[in-house]
Amino acid sequence: MKDPRRLSQFLVLMFCIGLLVNGCTSSANSRYFGKTVAPKDNILRYVSGSEPETLDPHISSGQPEARIYMAIYEGLVEYGPKDMQPIPAIAKSWEISSNVDEFVFHLRDNAKWSDGTAITANDFVYSFRRGFAADTASSSTELGFFIKYAEAFNGGQVFVKKGDSFLLAKDYGGEEQKPSTGIGPDTDFHKFVQSPIRLTLDGDEKKRAKQIDADPKLKAAVAGAEFVPVKAEDIGVEAIDNYTLRVTLRQPAPFFIGLLAHQFFRLVPKQAIDKWGKEWTRKEHIVTCGAFRIKEIRPYDALILEKDPNYWDAANVHLDGIAFYPVEDNATILNLYKGGSVDAFLNHTVLTSWIEQVRAFKDEYMNFPENSTAYYSMNVTRPPFNDPKVRKAFAMAVDNDALSNFRKITKPLYDLTPTGIFPEYDKARAKVSEEIRKERNIAPDVWAKYGKFDAERARKTLTEAGFPVQKSGDGWACPTFPTDKVSLMFNTNENNRSIAEFVQAQWRQNLGITVPLKSQEFKTFLKDRHEVQYDGLAQSLWSGDYMDPYTFVGLHYGYPNNGDAGFNDPKYNKMLDDANAELDPAKRYEMLARAEFYLMEQQPSIPLTINATNWMKKPYVKGMYPNPGTLLPWKFVYIEQDPAKWDKDVENVMAESDPQVEKQLQELTATQKTAK
């Protein structure tokens, strides 16, 4: 093409063709975001985020992995598709002791591994013990520490045996367990596990010596005593028979059943692990127990699953397979979705700059509240934030509603626990708030603003704390506040920066203080925050581990804790302990609400927003719901070929009933009345 005229003619021609093709396709599909054709092979293509670390559910605690594990492993219970409340899985029903510290699970007798062998209660005993074993080194193991002696076994601790009996925890400052009613047959193991909690000491000799030296009473008692290591067999898990499993806790935990859907409690195959060791998760060795089994593993490219005919409920699995694509770049994920290469993708994915465009596709965009909160922790161990008044002032000076409007899809939050996720807890909170209002005799209109954005009160409170805020030109100034001693730390990310800049502007506007911003690489940031080695404020995002408000209210419980504020308050710890010992659920929620109210008055953190699910699915993908954790039980998902039956206006998807899903759910929960 030597002639420049011919080159330009060619380019113009190409451009015209482009416009023409573009015009045709977009007019045909303008209702949907990009190419929308239901896959004919009945295989769902799902972008799962980062490359899965491993297919061993005990090892990875990540959410992208959790979604994959939900397809290939099953546990006693499964997350409900809409509300994430536990529904029967391998356990077809269960009983709970009146103390809520012992559970008996009745397993189905037709559950099988992908290699065809039967699943029995012994598989659960094995899986639980492996999860707590020190050499498994599971990072989610803490979730199971409610099970009696699980923590002691995991930490390599020892019982103290003197003569024929063991020293008991309650005699040395430990909590006394209320006598349990116990359920099921009273076996020898049951007698042991029901006996009062034994004292456990550190397994390391040096550390143990220190522990003993610190307590004179203990020192006298251990003289001549024998130290017996806590064994896997001591953990409160027992196979009563092949299809009956009993789990005993060290303390009442009303939310325990909900916890059991977590990946940590899913079954792992003894037969494969014994035989292949750390290589058991390879394609040629792996044995699974979920609705799907592994067909192909292509790291960083695709994990292909196929329906497992051995699965006990295979008749109710609608997809023939799932292809999980590990893609991390959000723009690339959206490109793949728009180009029709994938059918749905994980949460938190639509970039803020795309949201306006994408949310217009009402049949596809999932904007629902999540059980996660964004907040700023304040280092309560260093001045000036060691003063609750300063913390209050900074909290009151942030307009969360404005922040949410700016963020477009998040919802404002002024407490630690997100609203709209736990309806019963929301009621308890409202009730407790009203009670406190009456106790303090405050007018309802004044009370409504309590704890919310209030620039005037924020300035007053900061002035009271010894940092006077003065009028300065059009705005405010607080010259005595040590801005050189504080910063707002966040991990490097565009969204985090925009939030930080917004909040920084609010403080400048309302308090006359410019807090310096400090952006850090993620792991560097985590270290500083976890060790509470930061000045001022640090960004935090907490996703609930289970569907109970305690996963949020307990953030600052004990020390060290996950609140990362350096906060440690015995009164608050006691309030939580008391609440969890309460057996009446409504009353327990009220006690938790009181503890949360008390905590927010101490204000170790500034709540900002409730996150949004923020993901998309093509309208032909049905039975997939924007639940609060984006944890999708895959056997409910199906691909609808008939465009007339595609999802429309997904804003109502949670309220609308899909007869197929409802029927499936009803059949599953028929065996367990308490599950919804």
Binding site: T54, S61, A137, P299, Y300, N335, L526
Partner: protein, 305 residues
């Protein structure tokens, strides 16, 4: 010549070990661990993890064990991706990067050399201005901009090519073009400059004076000299291309080595970082050596003792 090559090859080993040591030190200095996550671990749980992966031993023991394994060519298992050895990961993901890199390299060479040579021969012509402006554009548009533009045009307007993921010839086209653009532009400009300089040099004048026809002058004499600056650029460029280009792999979701490497750093996956770094440094040193050898063939003035 042979002794030169042997000397250079021998030096590669200690150099690579030095690079690995420095990288190891840097990884150790960086805060955080492969297991650190939003949620804090109880200290007993953290101790279990550290023990399992040998992180509880003193640093010199860990360094010694690592080095003795590496000398034997074993980088151990990835910390993050359990049950997968580093060697296996590199072996598995290198081909993706290599295919795209090599094709991108060849495309860049084809476009760059042709455009550069023609532009030099027809200096100040329309083609010269046109191609060099295009090359300037190619140099100035970063690949994270070019990639999405190509996706927009070819995937969303024309619906001709997939917007990403590995699979089939159609999936390779856009990444290869994106990858080659900047190199093609660079090579074109280097070739043009090199050729212009050579075409005016004395030995070309001599060749013409001998009565050689223009074609022989160009192909037998000019090109060899004109390509030397291109060569010193393209040698290391090939090493970099083969080993993976992070941005293009990210934009098109290609499971190449570049992608793996960045993720390994963010994950603090020490064995994987060290493995990739050692592999890359050896690769780059070998390509530099090849370039040095090629000089000798292209330019008779360069001799190796």
């Amino acid at each position: 010549m042979l002794s030169f090559i042997i000397r250079r090859l021998l030096i590669i080993i200690p150099m690579a070990l030095l690079v690995v040591t420095l990288t190891w030190a840097l990884v150790r200095i960086a805060p955080g661990n492969f297991y650190s996550a939003e949620k804090k671990l109880p200290s007993a749980v953290e101790a279990n993890i550290r023990k399992k992966y040998g992180l509880d031993k003193p640093w010199y023991t860990q360094y010694g064990m690592m080095m003795s394994n590496i000398v034997r060519g074993d980088f151990g298992d990835s910390l993050k991706y359990q049950g997968q050895s580093v060697n296996e990961i590199i072996r598995r993901h290198l081909p993706y990067s290599a295919v795209i890199g090599l094709l991108g390299y060849l495309l860049a060479l084809a476009i760059g050399l042709t455009a550069g040579t023609v532009a030099a021969l027809k200096q100040n012509s329309g083609f010269d201005y046109g191609s060099m402006s295009l090359a300037m554009l190619g140099l100035s548009v970063p690949n994270f901009v070019l990639g999405p533009i190509l996706v927009l045009v070819f995937s969303f307007w024309l619906y001709l090519l997939p917007p990403g993921r590995w699979g089939g010839v159609s999936g390779i086209i856009l990444p290869v073009i994106t990858l080659s653009a900047i190199y093609a532009a660079y090579i074109a400009r280097l070739t043009r400059a090199g050729m212009l300089e050579v075409m005016r040099s004395d030995y070309i004048r001599t060749a013409r004076a001998k009565g050689l026809d223009e074609k022989t002058v160009l192909l037998r004499h000019a090109i060899r000299g004109g390509l030397i600056p291109v060569l010193s650029f393209t040698g290391p460029a090939l090493a970099a291309l083969l080993a993976g280009t992070v941005v293009v792999e990210k934009v098109f979701a290609i499971p190449g080595l570049g992608n793996i490497f960045i993720q390994a750093v963010l994950n603090r996956d020490e064995p994987l970082i060290l493995g990739v770094v050692a592999f890359l440094s050896i690769l780059i040193m070998i390509f530099n050596l090849i370039v040095d050898i090629a000089y000798g063939f292209l330019d008779p003035r360069i001799r190796y003792e």
